[in-house]
């Protein structure tokens, strides 16, 4: 099989995934809380992009703010970072892939449909992209190894 030495140790990847997923939970929770109060996230650099995006009908899916789906996704990724087995590696990859795909779609909507950019949504899309790359690296580097071998590689 491919040598794990080509990749960062699985422990390092797990810690990075946990850290980035925790940031993601924070960003998505902020967006969801701002929306639940009837407002919008505050764009740090000014401008009305966040308000415009939050006001758009695209900000909700089946009556639920899309940030809530983000919170669920980030929490699943956080949980997957604490396990070193194939289920966690593959599950983490699939969730990150779904999150990354959804981020691509939402970014398209922001740019071409709503015609406004929300910095918090961009931040979440960047975090999800990083998580996708980390989880893909983890899966390619360590799929098929058992937890003990992965631990050895740390």
């Amino acid at each position: 099989m491919t040598s794990p030495n080509k990749f960062p140790s699985e422990g390092t990847l797990q810690r990075l995934i946990a850290f980035v997923a925790a940031l993601g939970v924070g960003v998505a929770t902020y967006i969801a809380i701002a929306d639940s109060g009837g407002g919008a996230p505050v764009c740090i650099a000014g401008g009305s992009g966040c308000q415009t995006v939050a006001d758009s009908s695209y900000s909700h899916l089946l009556g639920v703010n899309v940030a809530v789906f983000g919170i669920v996704g980030y929490l699943l990724l956080l949980a997957s970072a604490f396990l070193a087995n194939d289920a966690a590696r593959f599950g983490g990859f699939v969730v990150a892939l779904g999150g990354f795909g959804f981020s691509v779609y939402l970014t398209y909507i922001e740019v071409f449909k709503i015609e406004a950019i929300c910095q918090w949504c961009v931040a979440s899309a960047v975090l999800m992209t990083i998580l996708f790359l980390l989880n893909a690296t983890r899966l390619i580097g360590y799929a098929g190894t058992d937890g003990a071998l992965a631990a050895d590689a740390r």
Binding site: S57, F90, G101, D146
Partner: protein, 238 residues
């Protein structure tokens, strides 16, 4: 041989997982492509509307309650009696009122209330009710402004249910089902404000009235022809 077997099993498991991952990537690409194609072909509901960014920029950060725009504690209230199908009202919405909204309304000196005065045609009444229903979700002014920016030829039948729904979605009304339910009940509200406009002696749209600490109740202004004339009336009522 004993060591080879577990390694072989590991390799097989790894191959299987990577094949599944490749399949998931393929499916994800297809799913995102379908979502984008569906939205770009008009599946998003509020597509092809004009002026959304301008409306959002104009109203951003200004409180709304019902069809009243501005700080509820503002000392002066400017009331616009308008018909959403009226082309002159559209002109006021795009040219005359924005400087007041960006100035005195944002500064908390005046709030502007939109009230329906339906004189153009039968579709003005459901359109007005739809605006009030959007106001119940704090999107009333977004609805009114976006309606004006997408207004069709006067009383040509364009303001049907599909048009109203597209405007509501574009205005950011969050619960369309709730909006649909509410707007059906609001015709009496539209009739009430139309009767109020007639009582004030108005015969055309838009007509304005102002109320403030120095005014004698709600004082009719008629149709002031410029931003400056309306600002002067606001100053007088302050």
């Amino acid at each position: 041989m004993g060591r080879w077997q577990p390694m072989h099993a590991e390799n097989e498991r790894r191959q299987r997982l990577l094949q599944l991952a490749a399949g998931a990537v393929f499916l994800a690409i297809i799913a995102v492509a379908i979502l984008i194609v569906v939205n770009s072909s008009g599946g998003g509901g509020d597509t092809n509307l004009e002026g959304k960014p301008e409306v959002n920029r104009l109203l951003s950060g200004i409180p709304q309650k019902g069809l009243v725009l501005g700080d509820p504690k503002a000392p002066v209230e400017l009331v616009e009696f308008g018909d959403l199908q009226c082309p002159v009202c559209k002109g006021y919405s795009e040219e005359i009122l924005p400087p007041i909204i960006e100035g005195k309304v944002k500064q908390g000196q005046v709030k502007i209330a939109f009230r329906n005065f339906t004189i153009i045609g039968p579709q003005s009444v459901p359109a007005g009710a739809a605006a009030i229903a959007a106001g119940e979700q704090s999107r009333g002014w977004n609805f009114v402004e976006l309606f004006y920016r997408n207004q069709g030829a006067e009383d040509s039948g364009y303001a049907d249910d599909a048009f109203l729904k597209a405007i509501a979605e574009g205005a950011g009304v969050k619960s369309i089902s709730q909006w649909e339910k509410e707007r059906q009940k609001l015709t009496p509200e539209v009739e009430k404000t139309t009767a109020e406009a007639q009582r004030l002696g108005f015969t055309g749209t838009p007509s304005f009235a102002v109320k403030g600490p120095s005014s004698n109740g709600l004082e009719p202004l008629g149709t002031p022809g410029s931003t400056g004339a309306i600002e002067e009336a606001i100053e007088k009522a302050s």
